[in-house]
Amino acid sequence: MHPMTPAPYRVRSRRPDRADTVTLTLEPLGGPCPPFLPGQFTMIYARGVGEIPVSISGRARPGAYVHTIRAVGAVSRALCRTRRGDVVGVRGPYGTAWDVSAAAGLDVVVAAGGLGLAPLRTVIGELIAHRSRYGRIGLIVGTRTPLTLLYPRELARWRDAHDIDVQVIVDHPDQAWKGPVGLVTRLLDRIVFEPRRSAAFVCGPDVMMRAVAADLVRRGVPAGRVVLSLERNMKCGVGRCGHCQLGPLLLCLDGPVVSYERAAGLLAVKEL
């Protein structure tokens, strides 16, 4: 089969999250739903409109992917508008993964900016599946407004049932908001972790990740244990279109999950 040919998947369920964000559960019409690792993505094709990379934000049994998609342009909008039973194309999963088990015995910082919480949801899933293996877990989330916060019920459950310190900060508060306002890095002061014995999983816009990673490293977290999920334009997901380059990396193959040790120098070069 050609590496660019997707398989038909049916929208098994569709849950609107926030104004512009929808969570879809996609199951294959026939054939297998290949296993995935936290941090990997699929390419989802909306018939006649186009195809985009979307991180896998969860597993649904039996054999289905969960994807949280924000409508920002033609393809993401078409995908958000699908209804139960509609058929889309899916191929993958592709890319590198977060090695969650490597954080065993350590404190864990999970830092999400905006939609970055979607792929990190699979990391949290792994962490709580083996909660006792990890030390303190702090989840810090930055979001535009209180209303754009993703997965509010799950955040509460993670906090209440799984001993995760969940902290949220917003860019633009509304009248009801009593929490902190500003950049997600501010939340690093609010969670407790022992930097030298910590691992961090970070996903969000480039600027947010650079700020969080630099801050963590300054506090003493080893750069090799600060792991980011990078975003670039991706047309193929399989190393043949050239769009996802970040210097020596083809982020669809060598990423999206890359350690800050590897990424710091590359992200520091403007327009790389």
Binding site: M1, H2, P3, M4, T5, P6, A7, P8, R10, L29, Y45, R47, G48, V49, G50, E51, V72, G73, V87, G89, P205, E231, R232, N233, K235, C236, V238, G239, R240, C241, G242, H243, Q245, G247, P248, L249, L250, L253, V269, K270, E271, L272
Partner: protein, 373 residues
Amino acid sequence: MEGDISPIVWSVRGTVEMDVVVWSLEPLVAALRSAGYSVVGPTVKDGAVRLAEISSAAELPAGTGDAQEPGHYRLTERDDDLVFGFAASPDSAKRFTQPPRQTLFRMRDREIEEVEPEAPRVALLGVRACDLAAMAVQDRVFLGGRHPDPAYRRRREALFLVAVNCAVPGGTCFCVSMGTGPKATAGFDLALTELAAPHRFLIETGSERGAEIVTAIPHQAATGDDVAAAEEVSRTAAGRMGRTVDTAGVQEWLPAAHDHPRWDDVASRCLACTNCTMVCPTCFCSTVEDVTDLSGEVAERSERWDSCFTLDFSEVGGAPVRGSQRGRYRQWLTHKFATWFDQFGTSGCVGCGRCITWCPTGIDVTEELSCIR
């Protein structure tokens, strides 16, 4: 990249293991055609040497030469009758392995149907050493990784390659610096060296199917003199490179020079016209296009050549990562000569000189590199 690199393997198991000499290319063209190949070779069209299907060796541009310099290409008249007395032409072999546009699949309702790709039986006559090297580079891109492309493999295997060892390199050639030419050493079915006084062609055989063709045409065994004359052609050509470039350590020093002022200088001359990427035989970048038929029921997706010089190439979240010409030129040059190694284990440049010749403002990669070094 991980994974097996499984390039096209050419083996010689035929009966012709000795070099042979032929006096005319007419029987070769005829034999290829009767073996079911359409023969595509250099012809003169629109003031340039262009690849086109030929039915007779008489259509080859005997007596035609070229003058190539940065931003400059002119055909010339030779004072001999050399059939291959010119250098790289604007057409490389790329479009035969990576078509400028190819349909990927169709989707109707809930069915996705792969489009059976065409793999025409084409014999390419006159492929230069740099272009053979470029195919080996593209083999790594499309076959060497975790996601090999079966359509590419079929097209690639259907191509019969008749190489020509360059006798007259152009003013922008630097294959010697890149270690790819001027003599073809691998990856061909047959390789010709054109010899003068008397006019004849020495043929080396590189594959079983090449041997079958040679067996089918009138030929005689090459003498020691023929072989020596052919070696002399390649030796002379190697000494006549239009350009040189020192690539020692380029993988380290080029990415490290991301702040070099020369990038601003070259950016002020580059028009971001994409010519360089379109003529380059290794540039593989592509994008995708979607169309739906009038009924709205059948959607078709295709892949077409793209260029890192366009703004939307790097668009993320509504803005390009490489918004400046400087960023885009730097991406291109650094990818070609340095980061290609990280991604595919080889240089992305084979030294064909096309990007220099066909740049409307005459930007010369060898000069840029020596200024940045």
